[in-house]
Amino acid sequence: MRAQTPALTRGLALAAGLVLALAACSSSGGGGGGSSKNGSAGLTSCNTQGKANTCNSGATKSGGTFTYVLEKNIQQWNLQDTNGNTFENAEALEVVLPQVFVPMPDFTVSLNKDLVTSATQTGTSPQTIVYKINPKAVWNDGTPFSADDFMYYWRTNNGKDCPPPPASDSTQTKGCLPESTAGYDRIKSLTASDGGRTVTVVMAKPYSDWKSLFGGGYPFYPAHVAEKVSGAKAGDAAHMTAAQMTKGWQYFQKNPPTKYATAGPYKMSQWADNDHATYVPDPKWWGATKPSLQRLIFKVISDATQEPTALRNNEVQAIYPQPEVDLVNQVKSIPNVTYNIGNGLQWEHFDLNLHNPVIGKYTALRRAMFTAISIKDIVSKTVGQFDKNVKQLGNHNFVPGQAGYQDLVTPTGQGSGDLAKAKKYLTDAKFTGVGTALKTPDGKAVGPFNCRYTTGNQIRQNECQILQSDLGNLGIKVTIKPIGAADLGTVLTGHQYDIIVFAWVAAPFPTSGAQQNWSTGGGGNYGGYSDKKVDSLVTQAIGQTDPAKAASLLNQADKIMVNAAYVLPLYQKPTFLAVQTRFVNMRNNSTNVGPPYNTAEWGLKK
């Protein structure tokens, strides 16, 4: 045995040395060059007031390949269809397909002057909108962009001319299923003049979000292609039958834009399913800004945690993942990368299930619960760890930066963690056992309630834990119950929760979303909130032609909802864009279109 001891020692020493060498490799790889200071110069100013649309600007030089990450594969290419309405699809298509108004990083919308020289509301009774198409606008097969494209868009999206497939259709392919008919179902007539270069839209009923029509993240598809594949008469979308429109609709579902005429600064030259899209500059592009990149690639990486390593290894040049502490820290250590944590249109919230007999019955209880919750604590223990700018959100329809935003929540004390005030709500309403074991005025136990979050989401688990502690101070017992990754829908629609935390995506056009989330029976109104006054105010807001009045009506509705204490907005979810500093003009557009809203401007820094 003695003779073998040195051999053993040598073997272990060698092994230990190799392990240390491997570890050294990993630590030097993760440490980076420490150039985060110079690296973050480009996007850091994006959060400064008024800079969201112009930060990280710079002149570009010709050439270079830029790879941007898509977080999901694209299976269905018709963004206007319910099934194709995904964020990744919007990102990939807006490079090649045009729209009238484009959502911008500051949550405003900008007129796409390459497509239309003007889009004006010329009358309010009836509401009339006139679009003047840019005479240079052309699809890249040479077909001029015309009123026919507007006509095809309207008729396929209004829910009437190309209705949804009937129940008897087992294949469910005989009809159009637009993601939303909002606004299009109010159009009374759409007429062309000036040889198809001017489009006049007259509304049957006013529509406040008229700027969302023919754009707002949902671009045009070429009508002439739909006419050709469906056998319809060229240039006559007005007389296409439902069957013909369905054929066109399905064609755009199944085919990536490599197969048909597009009208963007780039054209998609290749789509490798589940892997990447390759774009090259489109020689037919007529727009003011000519693309300077030699090649633009959208690479599918479905696991966000792998994105920083791909960025570090220069396999991609920009990533747009949901931020987490570790992920942000990893990116900070990558040399020559600039990043921005912005506040997006997604917002986190606690929802109460009003179908629960106790929660639904007592408004005072709901107010007390929301008042006892400390959003400051929640923020500091979750997203505040990597974003110091996150604050309590004070509105259910607007986020800071949007015209119409008013903080209606914090003045009520909801989310303040003010225990004394919360207890007073309860004692005033004759609840007993406040702070120990809460009971309703008629002696029934309050709780235990469950707080549900999607499993694996550490941030939401923490949020439930803080809520559990805060409500415990009122004498309400809360159990934390995770939801399987694929079961959020089941839990929401089946009302299988007492309290739930998840996020909603606000839109640049808030009135349509308000109807879905707050109106009685709305598709997103899972907790069963119902108030006739709110329903009426939201309906009035949708029918307003003056955006300021529409916002005012929504805020009136919001005040009622805040008092009802149904949903407690927590904060805007941070968004995170990281880009190599040798490229410029990428910005954190936290709307439904994402950073690729301006790919024509992207390029190598001069």
């Binding site: 092994a15 949804p164 993601e179 696991d303 791909a310 396999e315 991609v316 079961d487 089941t490 598709g523």
Partner: protein, 328 residues
């Protein structure tokens, strides 16, 4: 042996049917894709769209009918509808299978070659520094979680690229989306560069266990009478080792390798996710997270066939390699 093989294949059919039925029941009760569809989009889809979706994926049919339609459909080449629009499950399955086979086969070949070399070396140098070192690393690799080692290896790959000023080692996907100079050689090196890290990740765990098998088996054979006799006859050491000892020692390894295919396929799920290979592993993760019943079933069916097939191969290998065993 042919009769035995046919008998085994026939026995596998009811096993497949029973197992797929049980798994089918589990999968359709694992979540509600219709509810997910209704809540995962903004704005929420209309009631007509939700009903259409339920009909499209047959969610409105009884479980037994769904299973029967699925299994008879598969026999006719129809793998059923996916919750993902426009996804042809059959095409998806076999495209991904090819990707996974590339990864698994590369990993198995590397692991086998290394396991034999190091296992034999470890056996003939028993209780030396080399033996202890190989043993140490064998247990280290066995103990290491694949996901952790893969991340570590990725960092090492990036470090290698930074040191060499190249982009030889890829951390994402099976190949680069484009090549600056598109030649056959560049394409080949690009494939190899993307294969290195995931293959090492997947190979190491198998390498570790197979090295131990080879070592143990080799030691047993080296101590046997017939090897001693061969040496006594004056045969050269190399001839004794390679012709007489190693051939016998490899019999258990061959069968273990065939049986370990299922474990390697399991490892591929993690490896493919971390290295973003679009193979069977990614398919399983995506199918499970979206409650894609027919896609999950397609994965399970093919995996079951592969595992049953390799179990049969393992049994047959016994007979081929060991003349004492005969199947009648």
């Amino acid at each position: 042996m042919l009769a035995y093989t046919v008998r085994r294949i026939l026995v596998s059919i009811p096993v497949l049917i029973a197992s797929t039925f049980i798994v089918f029941l589990v999968v359709i009760n694992a979540g509600d894709p219709v509810a997910n569809f209704a809540t995962s989009r903004q704005p929420p889809p209309s009631k007509a769209a939700v009903a259409a979706f339920a009909r499209h994926i047959h969610a409105d049919e009884p479980a037994v009918q769904r299973y029967w339609n699925w299994i008879t459909g598969v026999l006719h080449g129809d793998w059923g509808p996916s919750v993902q629009p426009n996804l042809d499950i059959g095409h998806d399955l076999f495209t991904r299978f090819r990707v996974t086979v590339t990864l698994v086969a590369s990993a198995m070949i590397i692991a086998l070659v290394l396991a034999v070399i190091f296992g034999v070396f470890s056996a003939i140098r028993q209780y030396t520094a080399a033996d202890y070192t190989i043993t140490f690393f064998g247990f280290l690799f066995l103990a290491m979680p694949v996901f952790w080692f893969a991340v570590l290896l990725k960092q090492a790959g990036i470090w290698f690229n930074e040191q060499t000023g190249s982009q030889f080692l890829g951390t994402i996907g099976e190949k680069s989306p484009y090549l600056e100079v598109d030649t056959t050689w560049n394409e080949f090196t690009d494939h190899i560069g993307h294969l290195v890290l995931p293959t090492i990740t997947l190979a190491l765990v198998s390498f570790a266990s197979w090295t131990r098998y080879t070592r143990a088996s080799m030691l047993e054979v080296l101590g046997s009478d017939y090897v001693r006799l061969a040496r006594a006859k004056g045969l050269r050491r190399r001839t004794v080792l390679v012709r007489h000892a190693l051939r016998t020692a490899l019999i258990p390894l061959a069968t273990v390798t065939a049986l370990d295919v299922a474990i390697i396929l399991g490892g591929a799920v993690i490896t493919e996710t971390i290295f973003q290979w679009h193979g069977m592993g990614e398919m399983l993760v995506q199918s499970a997270s979206t409650v894609d019943v027919y896609r999950t079933m397609a994965w399970l069916l093919l995996s079951a066939v592969v595992v049953i097939g390799f179990n049969l191969v393992a049994d047959l290998l016994y007979a081929v390699l060991d003349p004492r065993i005969r199947y009648d």
